[in-house]
Amino acid sequence: MTKLILVRLSTSLLVILGSLVLVFIIIYLLPGDPVLQMLDPNTATPEDIANLRHQLGLDKSFVSQFLTYANQMLHGDFGKSILNSEPVLPKIIKHFPDTLALTLASSLISAAVGIFLGVLSAIHRNSWIDIVTRIVGLFGISMPSFWSGILLILIFSVHFGWFPAMGSDGWKTLVLPAFTLGIVGSGFIVRMVRNSMLEVINEQFILTLRSKGLSERLVMYRHALRNALIPAITMIGVLVGELMAGAVVIETVFSRQGIGRIVSDALMAKDLPVVQGVVFFSAIIYVLVNLLVDLSYSVIDPRVRRAH
């Protein structure tokens, strides 16, 4: 068990370092000049441009720029926004809870709806329930989230007036965006749970349990589902990343605060320190979530624990 944690921790660290390098290279290679973006085309002179470039350290070599950057980032100094000189890390930390709330709420919805429908359609394989559920799942996956978001606004905000269309204060403003994102996630989980349930159901031990006279419900929910959950949980780990990326769109559609919003605004304005900061921060979160997912296997499935 300790060995497992140690191995996982060190690979996580490597991934984080790798993402640090990757983020820097991508942004370095991005076309367009942030300096020209920051200055007013009507008044800037070549000297202004050179001065600002020097001030930002953009006239130094690639390697020296990277070393300065990596050194600062690893010391927790994510730099300042080019646009309004606001320090980046406090800004991210201030807005992360909003994104976290959205991600958690939509993961819960994805998991609850996905597992429930997945089991349902596996149990009733090839019946109309199965067909409807699979169509619904496919629908959830294929709908672009900005579109389903606007649809939910039109129905539940404009027409019924039940939930606010925008904002990020209080649980009520969380409902529509969490469902919008949750629908996408549940689509994936339905398929995953259905497939693994079907595999498990056909295994020998289920037959044994049935023949021992256990009630069908106990067999399905206590034994089959438990075994079918492992791939679903892996899926949830991947989904958290998916959902955090989805937050970029959803936070804009529902005018919520959050780090997705910060990064999309920063991209528009080519505010590179902010973009780098948010991407690196998200990478860390993603790695942590997957670490937790990996470790949770051993809790759910004793075979994983014994293997290490």
Partner: protein
């Protein structure tokens, strides 16, 4: 079978419970809202403009949805127009521009232009205080102007607006002389812009580069807080008593607070005002304007913005567009009327001149002048040797006639669709159009001169705006003179217009300039941009200034 039934029963129960909870929520909120509402007694009739401002309903919170987020609330440094909507509530200016274009007193009570036209002496109001208690006086004005000039402030547009300003002399506590390097006819008018708003010197010094997040002015509203990407709140300045001539209510505002919500997604912004989550929302897309007009709970307010309309600038530095006939062929080959009708469904006005109809000297005679004429366009191109090949495309010396069309806004006001339609229309006269949409304007467009047509617009209060776009002297790194015009006759008119103090003569000068620009086919004007607000009918008194920005001094909310 039994199991299935049980499951179904459960499902039905769960969904029933869910519906019950949801409806309970909904009816609860309605009750809350109803109980919160104060007794409707002081409401004036919503349709009439408040003739007696005393009767306007006092109090209330206005929520106003903005389409994008302001960058900073420092008027001198802000780079985006959306900031001005908020800046106007926090800051006052020295002078104000009335609807007819004339300049009236505001923080300055009167002014005098020196005989050599190179300095203005302003008398200032003596009763004005900034929100932080700092008194407004000549010293504060001097601080503001010097702050704009100071390179460390990184003033963007404000510096361009006060350009000939060099220094100021404090005559006495409430008299100041502003010195100009050269005479300037639009200097006084530019002082009316929110970007030259007067900031509190105490606060500006205290907050330094964070002033834009902690704005302090002397306006009708005080800054309260700014939640990133969510909202900006301002509250009534109870001491306010120096409102400008373009509002009725010169004293403290009727509203307690204004909450500017930032809602970038069009459909959400619209949904928020339809569901009454916000009371007013800006930038309503044309396709929704028509349907909104039918909603009985909403009103639509629309005002044309001023400055340079959205215009296609033809690059004179590129062949064959340096030839008049080639440019005229574009003028006759592009059906602007159809473009504007199709895309904006009659909600936007077509532009005919390089300046908007609301500006001083606008030449109405240009309207309905140049119309689509495919035959003429074809023969003009034939005349200069670009003949149609077998594929219907024109060529000369083995080279195809292509036009590189660049626009910098990701489909703001359907500008990308304009490009697509132009592409189709010009195919008919044998021109291949390559469309490029890029935000990286300075580098890929101006520095590399990589465009034949570039689409752009600008908000401005004076026809001198033409100078920066058409004068041959304007050669700042990228930008300026987009059409690359080198025309001594036009230079001469723009020079004269920039310094002429007699308005009748100025009007004449600018009419000539507009005719020249159209006759020489330097540009193709497309549309005049209307600022459009959808508001609940309970909102009254929302006005717009000469540039088309909203004014909240007279706003009140009726029940």
């Amino acid at each position: 079978m039994n199991k299935k039934m049980r499951l179904w029963n459960k499902l039905t129960l769960i969904s029933l419970a869910l519906i019950l909870v949801l409806t309970a929520c909904a009816s609860n909120t309605k009750k809350e809202e109803a109980s919160k509402a104060p007794p409707a007694s002081v409401a004036p009739s919503p349709s009439e403009k408040a003739e007696e401002p005393e009767e306007a309903a006092k109090g209330g919170e206005l929520t106003y949805a903005l389409a994008t987020s302001p960058d900073l609330l420092d008027p001198h440094v802000s780079r985006v127009a959306v900031s001005v909507r908020v800046l106007r509530t926090i800051y006052d200016s020295l002078v104000v521009q009335d609807a007819d274009g004339s300049i009236k007193p505001w923080l300055a009570t009167e002014w005098e232009l020196a005989p050599d036209s190179k300095s203005y002496t302003f008398k200032l109001r003596k009763d004005v205080k900034f929100h932080d208690g700092t008194p407004f006086n000549a010293e504060a004005v001097k601080y503001n102007f010097d702050r704009i000039l100071d390179p460390t402030t990184k003033a963007a547009n404000a510096a361009a607006l006060i350009r000939p300003y060099v220094s100021s002399d404090i005559i006495d506590e409430f008299t100041i002389k502003l010195n100009l390097a050269t005479p300037s006819a639009d200097f006084l008018g530019n002082l009316s812009q929110a970007l030259v708003g007067i900031v509190s010197p105490t606060a500006a010094k205290k907050f330094g580069d964070q002033f834009g997040r902690n704005p302090v002015g002397s306006g009708p509203f005080k800054f309260v807080k700014w939640d990133d990407n969510a909202q900006i709140n301002v509250e009534r300045n109870p001491d306010y008593n120096w409102g400008p001539s373009n509002v009725d209510n010169k004293s403290a505002a009727n509203l307690d607070t204004i909450s500017f919500k930032i809602i970038p997604e069009e459909a959400t912004r619209l949904g928020s005002v339809q569901s009454n989550q916000v009371q007013a929302a800006e930038s309503i897309p044309p396709q929704n304007i028509l349907s909104l007009k039918k909603e009985d709970k909403l009103q639509l307010l629309q005002v044309n913005t001023n400055g340079l309309p959205y215009t296609l600038f033809i690059n004179q530095r590129k062949k064959p567009w340096n030839e008049l006939k080639a440019r005229q062929a574009l003028q006759y080959g592009i059906d602007v009327t159809t473009i504007v009708q199709t895309l904006y469904l009659g909600t936007y006005e077509q532009a005919w001149s390089p300046i908007s109809p609301g500006l001083l000297g606008y030449d109405k005679s240009l309207e309905n002048g140049i119309k689509l004429d495919i035959d003429k366009a074809n023969s003009l191109l034939d005349e200069i040797g670009w003949v149609k090949g077998k594929d219907g495309l024109r060529e000369k010396d083995g080279k195809k006639l292509t036009l590189h069309y660049v626009d910098s806004s990701p489909n703001r006001e359907k500008r990308n669709d304009i490009a697509a339609i132009v592409q189709q229309q010009l195919k008919k006269i044998g021109i291949t159009v390559e469309v490029e949409i890029t935000k990286d304007v300075l580098n890929s467009v101006f520095v590399k001169d990589g465009y034949d047509i570039f689409g752009n617009s600008q908000t401005n209060s004076d026809p001198n705006a033409l100078f920066a776009f058409y004068h041959s002297l304007v050669k700042i790194v990228g930008g300026g003179n987009i059409p690359g015009v080198l025309d001594p006759e036009l230079d001469d008119l723009l020079n004269k217009g920039a310094v002429e103090q007699d308005n009748t003569k100025r009007v004449e000068i600018y009419k000539q300039a507009q005719q020249l620009i159209i006759n020489k086919a330097y540009i193709i004007p497309i549309y005049v941009f209307p600022y459009t607000v959808a508001a609940s009918k309970t909102v009254t008194g929302l006005k717009f200034d000469a540039l088309g920005y909203p004014l909240f001094n007279d706003v009140s909310i009726t029940k």
